[in-house]
Symmetry: C2
């Protein structure tokens, strides 16, 4: 029968990452495309023990739970956030199915079709998809390596009167960039002045490559909560990168009224997220040294990033340039001007390597000569080969471009 | 700061069940209000073993998974459904965070504000909340004990040109009623003729009190798929009632194009549901005799229902009447005409018993003298006391009504 879909479905693009992962399935491809943590670093035994303990107690562990999430885990997460400079009460937070659901639910209770939202360029692809699904009017704010430019931000705030500013200010996906303290402060101040909520999406903030105390500015949520006045920062994080993604447990922090509204929306959406996973995570936090584990994975990811960085630098890749990220999971590569990385991708797959073309991370005016490279999932011994294949793909792509040009000229 | 919520939030009622559960927390109350399975029947050891096996293999069990769900579990669920007369390929099904998310995602890809939807009266409260959140124009179809009345259904189809008909035709929540085969066939036929999708929500269908083969009509999805022509039935089910709710694993079955669209919406909503829970459920299905377990809980629930039924019958409850459900988890009680069960509830809580007032299950024209009683969660030895307390509450409520009336007349 003929199905008449809702208007939102016109704005549900399929993820390019997803399509690429489909292409690469079953082939001998080194994929730097996914945003996946390194599996060999997952604390599998500790997780298994945690599930055992979570299921060793009363049968009520298997019963329906609260929409807001398992209270002891909420309290434990609130405690960790407080330690990180974001003082939080459990009533100001709910647990979600990964931080992706946090983004979705916030947009659901906030955005009507046509409402303006400001984003960075480039920014997290799946956030653009969520914003698109609510038919938001998305506007970009220009940035440099320290974050959004205050002048442009204010201009966009004044012009578009947005409801929300979405940002990944720490080890951005895809760019790896991190905002300076000053820009964080300026952004909080400007958004307060224009009565605009900020969604600070911070899945990578604990994966730090510099262990010097004070090496990094605090989260915007910490600045917001320490500076007096009414809070404008909603904060989301996740266990996906510091424990494992399959447990699908994230959180969202904000004013109690807003969190209450999100809880109502979540109740309609799925009643609650997996209560067993939440209990297991609570058991894990009680018995496993997660801070040491985060240091362990951060050091390993740092060494992989340095390896990838060195390989790219030594091969040159026809003038590609990048800034080494100071944390997180991604390296953002800008190639020379004439290269379109979406067109390059099939050549790369042909050579046996995959990446995400940069253009998918822009709401408008994409930089088509960019790409996102993940360095956390591929075994490090394969990284040199990945870069070698990328170089071969560039050579083949350029030869193809020149041949096309020659045909055009003939 | 002032938060301007989206228009959908005006339609996000809090669940009455939820509010009642809050009232009853920490009190000595026998609650027949929740829709909870009996905890003492959960297969805790088998579930724990299943998680152990799910986490004993490769670390990839902890990695991001497919939006559609863990393939071996999809295949196993498709196999069970096929055995139940609903032939399904894995591509026609995705796994969701409980069947609540299935309802939400289907409405999301289907409904724009003002789109008409037909429902039974009474019907599942949380489905009404989802429909409300998409600002659907909800219309009821009159029913008798065999299901929707075909004449009224056709009138409503013609008048409102709905996009969707939502129904729980087997052991309805809240009424416990089950549709006859004839009404199922007529409804499928009418909806095909008017090009309307049916969402058959079937969380309780396997909890059957009559073990005679052929005692029950097939699901509408089975009728739909066996009768040729283009399928109009979308089908959702869940492990919440046959294994345990905390695992939050449901499924939705429909035409491959629709399921693909729902997968896109799910990707934006939460990337995917817990992959560990899905792997554990797959392990459970491989090693645990779930069919025997379902017979075990069905027999126990049957004996509890009979006990509740006998207690109500013996006390009379001032002329209350009901039909014994032939399966599921709920008994629907209709009291004498002048009683408003919402007003009765505080008297009941005062006496130490809770129920859900029937009016919350109606989209319009509620029958205010009804209530939903759950018989699966309360230990059976407490059921007589629960009914005794309900009788006391009725006496106190009636005394209060008479006193009010006397004051009015004086």
């Amino acid at each position: 029968m003929k199905i008449n879909y809702s208007a939102m479905t016109d704005h549900l693009g399929s993820s390019a990452v997803r399509d690429i992962l489909k292409i690469t399935q079953g082939k001998e491809i080194i994929s730097l495309a996914g945003g996946l943590p390194g599996e060999e670093l997952f604390p599998v035994e500790a997780v298994r023990d945690a599930y055992n303990r979570a299921l060793a107690g009363s049968a009520s562990a298997l019963q329906y739970g609260l929409t807001e999430g398992y209270t002891p885990l909420r309290e434990a997460v609130a405690g960790r956030l407080t330690d990180q400079g974001i003082p939080v009460q459990a009533a100001e937070m709910i647990l979600t199915t990964g931080s992706q659901q946090a983004i979705d639910l916030l947009c659901k209770v906030l955005l009507d079709p046509g409402d303006a939202v400001l984003v960075e360029a480039p920014t997290y692809l799946a956030a653009l998809q969520v914003l698109g699904s609510y038919r938001a009017d998305i506007h970009r704010v220009d940035s440099d390596e320290d974050g959004m430019l205050p002048e442009h931000l204010e201009e966009q705030l004044r012009t578009h009167r947005p409801k929300l500013l979405y940002t990944v200010p720490t080890f951005n996906n895809p760019s790896g960039a991190s905002w300076s303290r000053e820009r964080r402060e300026q952004t909080v101040e400007l958004c307060r002045r224009y009565n605009v909520l900020i969604l600070e999406d911070n899945p990578y903030g604990e994966i730090r490559f510099d262990e010097t105390p004070g090496a990094y500015p605090p989260p915007m949520a910490a600045i917001d909560r320490s500076s007096g006045g009414e809070s404008c920062v909603v904060y989301t994080g996740t266990f996906s990168k510091i424990v494992a993604p399959a447990l699908r447990t994230g959180w969202i922090v904000g004013p109690a009224g807003l969190i209450g509204m999100i809880a109502k929306a979540k109740q309609a959406a799925d009643l609650h997220s997996s209560a067993i996973d939440q209990r297991a995570l609570h058991e894990l936090l009680m018995s496993f040294d997660i801070e040491s584990h985060i240091r362990l994975i951060s050091r390993e990811y740092y060494s992989r990033m340095k390896l990838l960085s060195a390989e790219i630098t030594s091969r040159g890749l026809m003038g590609a340039h990048f800034q080494e990220p100071r944390g997180g999971m991604f390296l953002w590569l800008t190639l020379s001007g004439g290269i379109n990385t979406t067109d390059l991708l099939p050549f790369a797959v042909e050579q046996g390597v995959a990446f995400v073309p940069g253009e998918v991370f822009y709401s408008s005016q994409p930089m088509k000569n960019t790409m996102r490279l993940n360095f956390t999932h591929t075994p490090p011994e394969l990284l040199p080969q990945a870069v070698e294949r990328l170089e071969k793909a560039l050579i083949a792509y350029n030869a193809h471009l020149e041949a096309s040009l020659a045909r055009t000229l003939n």
